[in-house]
Subunit: 105 residues, 2 copies
């Protein structure tokens, strides 16, 4: 199973940390679901929303397993490329990778 | 990163498919979060809720990565055992494993 998890965590507007939902991750999840449908619900692939995935300052955050590839700052324009990269055994999308220096784990 | 994803998807009461939230997965997620806190937020471990993870007839569904181990029918009483199994490199908890015959992927 190759799942994409898209953080849809939402914090109040005045919260000390930003949140992916306030950076448009609801629409991003919908874009992932639309791309998944457009490709005929490829067997073995799954798109799920999730609560906080950390890296809140750089969101929206997306993680792809089983490889455990973490992406940040993902936009709807990136979705097709992410499917291509992970469904066809290609390389991760380098420009969206979570930088080592902002990892908290 | 070793994440536990707990499905907290909720469907209407009269929906054709059951849903994990109606089987108590909200409290289950809280139990996972409490156990995570009790263990001192172990570095490299993460607990997140998620939208539908499939296997709705057997929920609550929990998946652990990067191993990609799928559990169903998980209860609050199982949480400490699941942490022990996955944090200490032990074996998956056999009685909770998603049976091959009900996999849809």
């Amino acid at each position: 199973m190759l799942p994409f998890f898209i953080c849809v965590n939402e914090r109040p507007e005045d919260a000390p940390l930003p949140s992916c939902a306030r950076r448009g991750s609801g629409a991003l999840l919908e874009a992932f679901q639309a791309e998944y449908a457009r490709r005929g619900y490829p067997r073995g692939v799954k798109v799920s929303g999730s609560t906080c995935l950390t890296s809140c300052h750089c969101g929206p955050t997306v993680v792809v397993y089983p490889a455990g590839i973490w992406y940040v700052g993902v936009t709807e324009a990136d979705v097709a490329e992410l499917f291509d990269a992970h469904l066809s055994g290609g390389k991760p999308v380098a420009r969206l990778l979570l930088p080592e220096e902002v990892r908290i784990w």
